[in-house]
C-alpha cells in the first residue's frame, strides 16, 4: 500500500522535486563562484552571509510546495478516494507524510552533494572551515519542518485555513491599532521574535545557515 501511495505521490510531486533538486544543486556553486584565493576571511564571510538568508526561504518554499502537491488531488476530489481506501485513516496520513519526507530526500541529497563538491573546489582561507553536511542537515530539518506545518494546515478544511488566516490578520490589525496609542509597541515584531528566537518553534529558520564559517 505504501509503495502504491508513494508512486502516486511521486507523480503529483515530481514537477516540484526534480526542478527543486536542480535549483538547489546550483545554489552552492553560484554562491561560491566569486570566492577566490586572494580573498581575506572577512570577504568570504560577507559572500556567504549574503546568501545564507536564502536557505531557510528555500527550505520553507520546498516544504510548502510539496505539501501543496501532496494534498491538492485529494482536496480536488474532496478526500473521497482517500477515505475509501482499505487502510486506516491514521495510517494513510502517516503514509502520505512519510512519502513526502522520502521524496524531499531527493532535492536535499542533491543540495548536500552540490555543497560538498562546491567547497572542494573553493579555496577557503585559513581560519575558516566548510560545513556542507551540517548545512545539509539543517536544510533537511528545515524542509521537513516546513513540510509538516503546511501538511497540517493544508490537510484541514477551508474553515481551518480561514481561521488560521483570520488569526494572522487579527494580529496585524491589533498591531496597527496598538501603535496608534502606544507607538513604541510592536506586537507583530514581538510575536515574530518569540517564534523565531530560541526556544521558539521556528528558531531553526532564524539560526546560522553558513556554508563556510569560522
Amino acid at each position: 500500500m505504501f509503495l502504491a501511495l508513494l508512486r502516486t505521490q511521486w507523480r503529483w510531486c515530481r514537477t516540484i522535486i526534480l526542478p527543486g533538486a536542480v535549483l538547489l544543486a546550483a545554489v552552492p556553486f553560484l554562491m561560491l563562484r566569486d570566492v577566490t584565493a586572494a580573498m581575506i576571511p572577512m570577504e568570504v564571510m560577507a559572500v556567504v552571509r549574503a546568501w545564507s538568508p536564502l536557505f531557510p526561504g528555500l527550505a520553507a518554499l520546498l516544504g510548502l510546495l510539496v505539501a501543496l502537491a501532496t494534498w491538492a488531488p485529494d482536496r480536488r476530489g474532496q478526500h473521497i478516494h482517500a477515505l475509501t481506501l482499505p487502510v486506516a485513516r491514521w495510517r494513510y496520513i502517516l503514509f502520505r507524510f512519510g512519502g513526502g519526507i522520502l521524496l524531499l530526500g531527493i532535492p536535499i541529497l542533491a543540495f548536500a552533494l552540490a555543497a560538498w563538491l562546491a567547497v572542494q573546489w573553493t579555496p577557503i582561507p585559513d581560519g575558516l572551515a566548510a560545513y556542507p553536511w551540517s548545512l545539509a542537515f539543517r536544510f533537511a530539518l528545515g524542509t521537513s519542518l516546513a513540510f509538516a506545518i503546511f501538511f497540517a494546515i493544508l490537510s484541514g478544511t477551508p474553515r481551518t485555513a480561514a481561521i488560521i488566516l483570520g488569526v494572522l490578520v487579527a494580529v496585524a490589525a491589533c498591531d496597527i491599532v496598538l501603535k496608534l496609542f502606544l507607538p513604541q509597541t510592536g506586537l507583530a515584531n514581538d510575536l515574530l521574535g518569540v517564534l523565531l528566537t530560541g526556544p521558539g518553534p521556528l528558531a531553526l529558520f532564524a539560526g546560522r545557515w553558513m556554508l563556510i564559517d569560522v
Partner: protein, 368 residues
C-alpha cells in the same frame, strides 16, 4: 694671548665638555631633535620656495583635486569638483540658519570649511586631514545640509545655553519627527514629571526640562518619592562608601528620607535628566519660531541663570504660554507621524472580506 686668558679659555672648554658628559641621554636626544627640526624647517622653506618658483601646488599626500570656492550667504566653502550638491545644500542650510538665528545671524560668523566629495565606493578622500568634511556624493541634500551646519555653523559662545542643550544651538529640531520623538521620550522616561508634562502639568514640564535655577533642579525634576527612588537606583550602581549605605536604605527599606538625602548628595551634573537634549532642543526651537526674527537676539541678551526667563524673553510670551503651545505641538506631532486614516481602515476591512470570501468558497459549504 696672555697666559691667564688661555687658562680661562681652556677652563671654559673643559667646563663645557664636562657639562656635556654630565647631561642626561634624554637631554641630548632633545637637543638632537631640536637641531633636526631646525634644519628641517630650513629645508622646508627651501622646498616651498622652489615649489612657488616652479608654480606647482604642494601635494600633502596623493594628488589634490581642484577646489572651487562656493559663497552662499555667510558660507565660505571650498569644495572639489564632484556631483555632491554643495551649493544647493549651502543655500538650504543658510535658509535654515536664517530662520533659526534671525537677525542675530549677522553677528555670528561662519567658519570657512573644506568639503570633499568622494566616490560612493571609495573608503576615503585624497585630501586626508585637510578636509573638514569628506562625504560620499550619493548623499541627499538634507543629509548634507545637516553636516554643513554642524561643521561650519556659528558658535554663539553661550556656555549656559550649550550646557543646557548639550551642544551648540542649531536648527533641525522643529520637525514633526523631532517633536514626536520628544513626546515619546517624555512619556517613556521613568519619572513622573515626564508623564505629567505630556499630560499637561506645566510645572512638571519646568522640572523635566530643568528650566529653573540649578539649585532647584533636583526638587523640581523629582517631586515624587518614586522619582527619588528611581534616581537612587540609577546613581547607586556606580557609587560606593556613604552613598551606598543611603542607597541601600532607600531601595531596601523604601525610606524616602534616605532617597531624598541621596538625591541631595549627588552632584547636579550626575543627576539623571528627565528630558533629554533632543527634547530640550525642540523647546528652544519652539521659542525661536514664536519670537520671530529678533528671538535669538533676545535670548542672548537676557542674562539669567534660569532658562525659563531666557526662553520667555526669546519667545516674547510668558513661559507657561510657550510651554503650553509646545506641549500641544508635541501631541499633535505624534498623530501626524503615525496617521490613522479612513483609507487604511477601509483597506483592512476590505482584505478581511476578501479572505473570508476565499475561505467560504469551498465545496464543503456549498449545498451541491
Amino acid at each position: 694671548m696672555s697666559s691667564w686668558r688661555l687658562v680661562a679659555a681652556l677652563l671654559l672648554v673643559a667646563g663645557r665638555s664636562a657639562a656635556a658628559q654630565g647631561s642626561s641621554p634624554l637631554a641630548e636626544e632633545i637637543a638632537r631633535l631640536e637641531r633636526r627640526v631646525d634644519s628641517m624647517r630650513v629645508e622646508q622653506r627651501h622646498a616651498t620656495a622652489l615649489v612657488a618658483a616652479a608654480g606647482t601646488v604642494v601635494a600633502p599626500a596623493r594628488s589634490v583635486a581642484t577646489l572651487d570656492l562656493i559663497r552662499v550667504g555667510g558660507f565660505q566653502i571650498r569644495a572639489n569638483r564632484s556631483p555632491l550638491p554643495v551649493t544647493a545644500a549651502a543655500e538650504e542650510a543658510w535658509r535654515q540658519l536664517g530662520g533659526y538665528f534671525g537677525d542675530e545671524l549677522a553677528q555670528l560668523p561662519l567658519r570657512p570649511i573644506l568639503v570633499e566629495g568622494t566616490h560612493p565606493d571609495s573608503n576615503g578622500g585624497s585630501l586626508e586631514e585637510k578636509a573638514d568634511l569628506v562625504i560620499r556624493w550619493d548623499q541627499s541634500v538634507g543629509s548634507l545640509v545637516a553636516q554643513l551646519i554642524g561643521a561650519a555653523g556659528p558658535d554663539p559662545l553661550d556656555a549656559d545655553l550649550e550646557q543646557w542643550l548639550g551642544g551648540r544651538p542649531r536648527p533641525g529640531s522643529g520637525t514633526v519627527a523631532a517633536l514626536a520623538k520628544a513626546r515619546d521620550q517624555l512619556v517613556l522616561a521613568p519619572f513622573s514629571t515626564g508623564h505629567d508634562c505630556v499630560a499637561g502639568d506645566l510645572i512638571a514640564c519646568r522640572g523635566a526640562l530643568r528650566l529653573g535655577p540649578a539649585d532647584g533642579w533636583a526638587a523640581q525634576s523629582f517631586p515624587e518619592p518614586g522619582d527619588r527612588r528611581q534616581v537612587a537606583l540609577l546613581v547607586g550602581r556606580t557609587r560606593s562608601g556613604a552613598l551606598a549605605a543611603g542607597v541601600e536604605r532607600c531601595l531596601g527599606a523604601r525610606d524616602d528620607e534616605s532617597c531624598s538625602a541621596v538625591v541631595r548628595a549627588v552632584d547636579i551634573s550626575a543627576l539623571p535628566s528627565v528630558a533629554d537634549q533632543a527634547t530640550r532642543r525642540t523647546l528652544l526651537d519652539a521659542a525661536l519660531r514664536r519670537g520671530g526674527a529678533g528671538a535669538y537676539h533676545r535670548l542672548r541678551a537676557t542674562p539669567s541663570p534660569a532658562m525659563e526667563v531666557r526662553l520667555a524673553a526669546a519667545a516674547g510670551v510668558p513661559i507657561d504660554t510657550l510651554l503650553a503651545d509646545w506641549r500641544v505641538e508635541m501631541v499633535q506631532a505624534v498623530r501626524t507621524v503615525t496617521p490613522w486614516s479612513t483609507k487604511i481602515g477601509v483597506a483592512g476591512i476590505g482584505w478581511l472580506v476578501v479572505f473570508l470570501a476565499c475561505a467560504l468558497w469551498s465545496s464543503r459549504w456549498r449545498a451541491d
